[in-house]
Symmetry: C2
Subunit: 349 residues, 2 copies
Amino acid sequence: MSQTIRLALDAMGGDRAPEAVIAGAEMVRARHGNVGFIMVGDEARLAPLMKGYPELSRVCELRHCDAVVGPDERPSAALRNRRPTSMRVAIQAVRDGEAAGIVSAGNTGALMALAKMTLRMLAGIHRPAIASIFPTRRGRTVMLDLGANLECTPDNLVQFAVMGEVFARTVLDIEKPSVGLLNVGIEHNKGNETVREAARLLQSGSLPIEFHGFVEGNDIVAGTVDVVVTDGFTGNVALKTAEGTARLFVDFLREAIDQSLMARIGYLLARGALKNFRDRIDPRLYNGGVFLGLNGITIKSHGSADEVGFANALGFAVEMARHGFNDKVIEELNRWHDGRSTEAQVAAG
Amino acid sequence: MSQTIRLALDAMGGDRAPEAVIAGAEMVRARHGNVGFIMVGDEARLAPLMKGYPELSRVCELRHCDAVVGPDERPSAALRNRRPTSMRVAIQAVRDGEAAGIVSAGNTGALMALAKMTLRMLAGIHRPAIASIFPTRRGRTVMLDLGANLECTPDNLVQFAVMGEVFARTVLDIEKPSVGLLNVGIEHNKGNETVREAARLLQSGSLPIEFHGFVEGNDIVAGTVDVVVTDGFTGNVALKTAEGTARLFVDFLREAIDQSLMARIGYLLARGALKNFRDRIDPRLYNGGVFLGLNGITIKSHGSADEVGFANALGFAVEMARHGFNDKVIEELNRWHDGRSTEAQVAAG
């Protein structure tokens, strides 16, 4: 039987905390088994709620603290302010080796700042990245960075490629994930110097990565590759553009149907089939901004996520811990550096 | 009665040339009136087709040339190769003052390179930009740059803002268009130095532009602003991401409906209403990459556009010519420079 995976939860972060956090944890316990939680927050609020979850209570340690990072608090303020917030205490549990990872639906900037300061970077990684999953025509694709680094060097992009590839292989269970670099065209002479140099590094063959080459914006949801790598500026805009377009479509469709009685009857007949459609694009199944490159699993759930969404984010953390995600990333990076120094030696003769 | 507007058409560019070009020109003639065309291409193919359009023939001059820029020809090759292609001859008609603008469904890179070399930049504009129209929740939004400049200075972005604003005011007929700068967040401290400096310039008040501030990816199709300004790398990715997401939605919806008999019956009942939905997002109504900043109106129709799509792109050219688009841009830029030097005098004084 596999080892129990313990995760620290910021029970007070997000619009629906602590209820959605507790209910989400229970869903993950029932689904994955062999998990344990450190639930950090206001004991006076948590304890009565936990009474409704006897099985979860058995694998859950409550850790009291009464401060919370505000949703609009600036990351710099969250760093300076040394009070023990539920977010900070949960991250510290990871630093102290009590938990393999932390999941929070609280303030994104504060979570990144606190996690970076407390957990430090993973050996060999220069910058953290935020990754998320997209539904695509072919299945699921992971994209990074989504906003942690607005400007990236070619080396940063290569490191993101390594982390994204390991994520797709372990968490998404894709045997040989293909990796693409987001660009304005697929020809090798397209784009700026940064993406072209990153492509050269990824093509060099010293990484065991299936590098597809450049991909374009439409390739993200087409599922052309399993991993899309880009800088945080472009990734953030692409993510929000896709979300906005999806929302516009649903609204336009609803408005068109509402305008006609025939269409409303038609909708009732098609409702079952449309449920499949909705399930396929249910944003809760894609909830979870995964912070990669930190020395401890860190996941940000959407602030408005319900228990299904929170459970999805938490599920990513369980899978990452189970597969030793960070160890695998370090392993790949070592292979990469070994390959590069061998190449340098060969070149030096 | 307003003056006749003459436009030069690359009759041989695009997958459906010359049929879609001729049929599209006829649609614009019937719709706008008071237009004339220089139809450039292989006379042996054009003349028989024109026989079917007696009214168009009266306002259309055929200009023979038998060479065509290939769809995969590199812009540098198209520049070097001095043979008179339909694209080159049509652009020369604009340079020589015979036509107010050129519309082509041919090779994008070649069109930009040839137009830039032949027409030169508009006085005061440093870099050209490609603009397109998006359907949004509120109506229509114009976004630029979509790929002409992968890296932009703050001044470039300000000039794009001026051109986008004039386009929205004249062609889209929006009285006081609002302008937003695409960024990873709306707070003033978000983003890289380039967008923050561009925002400072746009806020300075020496431009008569309604500057909204920063917008995010989801704001593009939400229609938060009438003009979205960004660099060509981000804009290109955002455009293709939106297109890809829209296509994925339509496909997912179709698959869901095809899976069930009830849903197919429902679809038949809703068909009329869904036609409104489809019309609202019909890509043909948004066809046309408008090259802004050149000393002559230049519009790229999608290579696969049919006559409705081509007519839409051509319609933009008519409206730009009718409103003296380029003169208005120069006027705005002069106001901007006057405002800046006044500010400098005040500051120095």
